[in-house]
Each structure stands twice: as C-alpha cells, then as structure tokens.
C-alpha cells in the first residue's frame, strides 16, 4: 500500500516567512563549513611563518572575502541564536527534583557564550 503524498513545489519554503527562516537556518551549515576552511587557511598561514601570515591578512582584507565573511557571520549568528533558543526543548534539566525553567536554560547558554567569547578575545588580543 502506498500513501498519498501531496505534491510539493520545489521552492515550497518561499511560501511563508517561517518556512523561509527554517531553510535559511538550515543553510547556515554551508557557512559553518566555510568557517572551517577559513580557519584552516589561517592556521596554515600562521605555521608557515610571518610572511605567509601577512599575506593571509592582506588576502582576508579584500572586499569579496570580507563580503563573504559578513554574510557568513550573519548566518552563524542565526544558527547560534536559534540553537540557544531551542536548547530548553532539547534538554530537560532537573535541579532538586524540579525542572529548570526554560528561560534559565537559555540564559545559561548565553552566559557560557559570553564567558567563552571573552576568554578567546583575551587570549588573542592581550
């Protein structure tokens, strides 16, 4: 027995704003992959020596690289915000037998985000 499947338009996710946001969120993964490539290029340049590092800095200042990175940054932020927002639904944390309220789970994630970002920034910029 086969079940009936409603035919879907190829671009079904353009029909509603919430569908579009869903697909944009899913597309953020492409920019996650780009970040890994970018990070490995940076690491490679740093280990090759001071000249390669300077070359990388020059290359990363070109307008099209900056443009890609700004778009990528927006997608990464969309990922982070939606990820933290869904966290209380993905994890149920009990403390002394009571369920931790969702807002506190979200707040804990943002706190961890702040602390880790501060550590990374301090390490790189000091």
């Amino acid at each position: 027995m086969s079940t009936y499947q409603r035919p879907l338009a190829l671009f079904w996710w353009l029909e509603r704003r919430s569908y579009l946001l869903f697909v944009l969120r899913e597309l953020s993964c492409v920019f996650v992959a780009w970040f890994v490539v970018y990070l490995l290029l940076l690491v490679n340049a740093i280990s090759d020596g001071a000249t390669s590092y300077e070359d990388f800095l020059d290359w990363s200042g070109q307008w099209w690289v900056v443009a890609i990175n700004v778009i990528a940054m927006l997608f990464i932020l969309l990922h982070a915000i939606t990820w933290f927002g869904l966290a209380p639904r993905a994890m149920v944390i009990r403390l002394r037998g009571r369920r931790l309220p969702p807002t506190q789970v979200v707040a804990a994630h943002y706190l961890a985000w702040l602390v880790l970002s501060a550590i990374v920034a301090w390490l790189v910029l000091r």
Binding site: L8, L10, W13, V23, E26, L27, S28, C29, V30, V32, A33, F35, V36, Y38, L39, L40, L42, V43, N44, I46, S47, G49, A50, Y53, E54, L57, S60, G61, V65, V66, N69, V70, A72, M73, I76, L77, H79, A80, W83, F84, A90, H109, A112, W113, L116, S117, V120, A121, L123, V124, L125
Partner: protein, 117 residues
C-alpha cells in the same frame, strides 16, 4: 514499525555537539579573524603571538575538536537540506557519501594541518 538504522543516533549526536560548539566558539573567532582584523576595526596580533597560541597543544586540540564537530554538523544538516529543501531524497546514497565522506576528508585535513604547526 520501522527500526531506525544504527548509525543515525551517532550522526545526530555529532550534529548536535557540533551545533553547540559552533554556536559557542565560532562567532567570536569569525568576528576577530574574519571581520575585525581584515577591516582594521582592531589591530591584528603579530605573528609571534598567534604562533605561540597555536604552538600550545591544548589550543590545537580545541581547534581540532571544533573543526571535526563543525564538519559533521555541516554534513548532517546539509544532507537534510538537500533532502527537504531541494527534494532530492531519491539521491540519498550519493548525498550521504558526499556529506559524511566530505566531513571525514575534512577532519583528516584538519588533523594534518594542526599537527604540522
């Protein structure tokens, strides 16, 4: 009732831990090295400083974990984006090979790059 194939839970675990480390670590790294330094909003650290950070085995371990998990996060999400977003589920086999195979290759490259610092 159909049973789920055995690797699915593991792949989902990798996706979900990847999503978490990406959300926590990538915004600041990308902001610094992808936007702030290239646009001269902040002056980039000199080579000896970043090299010293990178020589630390702990940094390289963290970066390796970040790269590997981020790649498996990409693989899993991209697979379902192709399935649903472009309705390509009939090409499931090549898509799975492309996504997870790509993540494995990328992880090996990341290990090689980070080990030869």
């Amino acid at each position: 009732m159909s049973r789920r194939p055995a690797p699915e839970p593991l792949l989902w675990m990798l996706f979900s831990s990847g999503g978490m480390v990406v959300a926590l670590m990538v915004p600041i790294l990308f902001f610094l090295f992808g936007i702030a330094f290239p646009l001269d909003l902040l002056s980039p650290p000199d080579h000896s400083h970043v090299f010293a950070i990178l020589r630390n085995p702990f940094t390289r371990l963290v970066l390796f974990g970040l790269c590997a998990l981020a790649l498996f996060h990409w693989a899993h999400r991209f697979r379902f984006t192709l399935y649903d977003g472009l309705q390509l589920k009939r090409y499931a086999v090549p898509i799975v090979v492309l996504c997870y195979g790509g993540a494995v290759v990328g992880t090996v490259i990341a290990a090689a790059v980070l080990l030869t610092v």
